[in-house]
Amino acid sequence: MIKKLVISSKNVDFLNKINELSGETITLCDQCGTCSGSCPMVSEMDITPSQMMRMVQLGQMEVMDTKAMWICASCFACTVRCPRGLDLAKVAEALRQVKLREAIDHIDIKKIPEDEVRRLPQIALVSSFRKFTG
């Protein structure tokens, strides 16, 4: 199935937003793959770090549905090795921020059975509202 790539002003706005939030010029990434090769968590990720950068470069908002940014351990291996001097950890953080700012809860407390709610520690419930790493 051929997926059509459309880059509209909406996509460009998304790229600009991530650029601004992260402070990095994401179009500088030349897709060399050093970041993915260095990442200790890449085997758990659905997309590789360089793929994440690519999707942001093209302004593809589907990247917000990926899990890679949440698997990121913030170890900074990618940042330290990037030959273009890009801080990928910041870009991942920017993406996480965008998701968190949507203020959409990951779980809906109204959908959990009442007796479970009563048994579960409150702290566990609250922390899981915005837990995307699972």
């Binding site: 030349d30 897709q31 970041c35 260095s38 590789t48 090795r81 030959p83």
Partner: protein
């Protein structure tokens, strides 16, 4: 004085906007003008003949042509004057086309008034023009080539064959450079040593080339046509005429050290043959490695030397000679891969550089492999290049191709090998390169697009696990290899830094030596008579190196062939009767052209014993020195203090009450041309601007700026080229220093310092020019003209205020 003024219609280009008849009648009224004519095309045969005939008939001795830019037809009209028997330097052009009619095409009346103004300024300047002759300086036929790699060899051969005297200085005991270490060369797979050896032999055989090996340039003094060179020649302790290369000496030498030619992969003795194709072909004794020469500790080599070639009683020699031009061909070093700790070079036994691999292939193909290479070999590209983490942003240009070469040589010599190249881009830009890359793919070399992140060594097997993302399939590869080859980039070397300091040569941001202009002067430097050839200027392959070397020798030939070279008479000079020998100017000259010397014996005894003198061979005509003379003793031919002041007065003469004027001092090379380009593009800018041409912005002394304000300028703008492309060293810092002196006084007088501006331009910054001029113009309009009282004070006691 009999000035002739000619106003050109330029086929309508000028006459459609500027009222020529008004310019003619204005010029007729000016003192010393005896003849004014106009013509549709002054630069045509007809127009030029008109000028020549008039000069003869009316005995004109100075000419003003109000027409296009002097940058455009200046040389044409200069030769017109020469044909008529006049000095080409008694010509002034009023730029009423590019800098008047064209930018102000919407305002014909204003443009005509401005044209009158500019013509008046040209007349004012021409009154003080000196009938200077074209200057030439003598030059000989001697060249120094620094560096005996393929670039230096090619340049030396070209010049030697052309009959010039060449000194070729090489710091190693043999010429040949890095190319002599290579196995094969891409894309033809020629044997490097085989194609290089004949050229090396030719160097030795050429009677015009003096070859100094094991020698280093210690000092360079002087200038074009007179470079005084000091070379230190190190002793080899072996007479090359007697040495038969029998190898008896190495057998008895007790010292074993790493062999540099073999990249340390094998060893040599203290007495050794520098390379298999060494020229001069002789053994050499390495004093550092030897057990001792003074006093003699061993001496076994001399005992067994049958031809008696070894002599310990030799010393370093200092050789001095003079040359006219210099070619710098000091080559490169490979990137120090230990800086990339993720690849473990220097720690892991099976990680080597591409240069190591070259030597290994040479030995393997001769049947003497240095070490086993294994079956699985990986090449890692871009090591030390395109990498901000080691602070080398540049691409090293040849690594993609040399890896393509080494990988397929390895695969073809043993097809059971598994050879991989891990790349980010595959740059196969040259002739035959793409085809050669295809051949590698056909041979079965695997190219994987991914930059290797790290290597992990297995401590038992010493094999390396390589971690990389195949970016084309988005898979992470963790794979084991027997041998990993780092495709190291090219870096500037130590020798280059030394020579650059001796010659004051500029460096590009990537650390290599900078060419005078990247497109049009790729082998020149900004130092006259000094040229670059080969990798010293930047990474490149052998064909490009050879081309550059031949280019550099052609440029040197161009300067030397006529026995003399042309110089503009735009030179500093001293009003000796005003000079008090204080010497403040001497240290300020960026090219050390000024010195203090004793006056002539028959000078006025009331004058100082010492007087400043200008060395015209060194003077660049920037005018920086003038600002530092408290006695107004320093001046510049063709742009004298009196001339510039006369021009300033002339462009402000018709200023009415309440009007503002902005003076733009435009440096010849950039800002003046930029202003022309703006006119050609028919872009408009403020009508109250008046452009005055100067050789460099550093010519505009603080005194001139204050005089300009005093005469009626309400804003002053100085435009200069960027420092890195300037032929005038330190021009920008001189301008800034001049401006700060004036700003200080403006502040004291309560005048807004924003009336004085300085911008560095490039000739394509059309919008930038327009915006800057308009911005200053708008500012002066808003702020109004400088009050008459303050203006008067600026013109008073200028030297006292500046030099207190």
């Amino acid at each position: 004085m009999r000035i002739g003024v000619y106003v050109c219609h330029c086929g309508g280009n000028i006459s459609e906007i500027v009222d020529i008849s008004k310019v003619v009648s204005f010029a007729e009224k000016q003192p010393d003008v005896v003849l004014v004519k106009d013509n549709p095309h002054m630069c045509s045969e007809v127009g030029q003949k008109l000028v020549i005939d008039d000069i003869k008939e009316h005995k004109l001795d100075k000419i003003v042509i109000a027409a296009c830019s002097p940058q455009f037809q200046g040389p044409t009209f200069m030769s017109t004057l020469e044909k008529a028997g006049l000095s080409p330097y008694v010509l002034e052009m009023a730029n009423i086309r590019e800098q008047c009619a064209w930018p102000h095409f919407d305002f014909p009346e204003e443009a005509t008034k401005k044209a009158n103004n500019l013509t008046n300024a040209a007349i004012a300047k021409v009154r003080l023009d000196e009938p200077l002759g074209k200057k030439t300086m003598p030059i000989g036929r001697r060249v120094l080539v620094i560096g005996g790699g393929i670039a230096g060899i090619q340049a030396a051969l070209d010049l030697g064959d052309a009959g010039f005297k060449v000194y070729l200085v090489e710091k190693e005991p043999t010429i040949g450079g890095k190319m002599s270490k290579l196995s094969r060369t891409f894309p033809t797979e020629d044997c490097a040593a085989c194609i290089l050896s004949p050229k090396m032999a030719d160097v030795l055989a050429n009677p015009n080339i003096t070859l100094l090996t094991y020698s280093e340039v210690e000092n360079i003094q002087g200038y074009l046509g007179n470079y005084e060179i000091t070379v230190k020649k190190n002793p080899t302790y072996v007479d090359p005429d007697k040495c038969t290369c029998c190898d008896d000496c190495t057998e008895v030498c007790p010292v074993v050290v790493p062999n540099e030619f073999e990249e340390g992969l094998t060893s040599r003795k203290a007495i050794y043959l520098p390379s298999p194709i060494a020229v001069p072909h002789s053994y050499v004794l390495d004093e550092q490695a030897c057990l001792g020469i003074f006093p003699l500790a061993c001496g076994k080599c001399q005992e067994v030397c049958d031809p008696g070639a070894i002599n310990f009683d030799v010393y370093p020699e200092e050789i001095k000679f003079t040359v006219d031009t210099i070619i710098v061909a000091t080559g490169y070093d490979i990137f120090d891969a230990t800086q990339k700790s993720v690849y473990g070079f220097g720690k892991y036994a099976n990680v080597i550089t591409a240069l190591d691999m070259e030597r290994m292939i040479v030995h393997a193909s001769e049947g003497n492999p240095i070490r086993p290479m294994g079956k699985r070999i990986a090449f890692i590209q871009c090591v030390g290049s395109r990498d901000e983490q080691v602070e080398n942003e540049n691409c090293s240009r040849i690594c993609c191709m040399y890896a393509t070469k080494l990988s397929q040589l390895l695969k073809r010599s043993d097809p059971t090998r598994d050879v991989y190249v891990f790349y980010t881009d595959l740059r196969a830009y040259g002739k035959g390169f793409e085809e050669y890359y295809k051949r590698a793919q056909r041979t079965g070399v695997k190219f994987i697009r991914g930059r290797v992140a790290e290597l992990i060594e297995d401590s038992q097997t010493r094999k390396l696990t390589l971690r990389v993302e195949d970016t084309l399939t988005r898979q992470i590869i963790e794979s084991e290899f027997d041998l990993v080859v780092l495709s190291v980039g090219l870096r500037p070397n130590e020798g280059t830094d030394r020579i650059a300091n001796l010659l004051r040569l500029a460096k590009s941001p990537d650390g290599f030596l900078q060419e005078a202009h990247p497109k049009f002067r790729p082998v020149d430097t900004l130092t006259d008579g000094v040229f670059l050839a080969g990798t010293v200027q930047g990474p490149k392959d052998i064909p490009d190196t050879v081309a550059q070397a031949s280019a550099a020798s052609a440029r040197a030939t161009r300067l030397m062939n006529r026995g003399e070279y042309d110089v503009e008479p735009v030179m500093a000079f001293v009003h000796e009767e005003s000079c008090d020998g204080c010497g403040l100017c001497v240290e300020q000259c960026p090219t050390n052209a000024i010195s203090l010397s004793s006056r002539d014996a028959n000078s006025d005894k009331s004058l100082s014993p010492k007087v400043a003198k200008i060395n015209e061979a060194l003077c660049k005509g920037c005018g920086s020195c003038i600002a530092y003379c408290p006695k107004d003793a320093l001046d510049l031919h063709c742009y004298s203090n009196d001339q510039l002041l006369a021009q300033i007065k002339a462009v402000l003469a018709d200023k009415k009450n309440g009007e503002v004027r902005v003076l733009v001092f435009a440096d010849d090379m950039t800002t003046y041309r930029l202003a022309d380009n703006v006119g050609v593009a028919k872009m408009s800018y403020s009508l109250n601007s008046r452009i005055i041409r100067v050789p460099s912005g550093s010519r505009v002394t603080p005194k001139l700026m204050l005089q300009a304000f005093a005469e009626g300028a309400d804003g002053i703008f100085i435009g200069e080229c960027e420092e890195k492309s300037s032929p005038y060293p330190h021009s920008v810092s001189t301008i800034k220093s001049n401006i700060s002196k004036v700003t200080h006084i403006l502040k004291e007088e309560g005048i807004d310092e924003k009336r004085l501006r300085f911008v560095q331009f490039v000739t394509v910054m059309l919008g930038g020019f327009v915006n800057n001029i308009n911005s200053l113009s708008d500012f002066t309009i808003k702020s109004g003209p400088i009050p008459a009282q303050k203006r008067k004070r600026l013109g008073e006691n200028i030297n006292e205020r500046l030099f207190k």
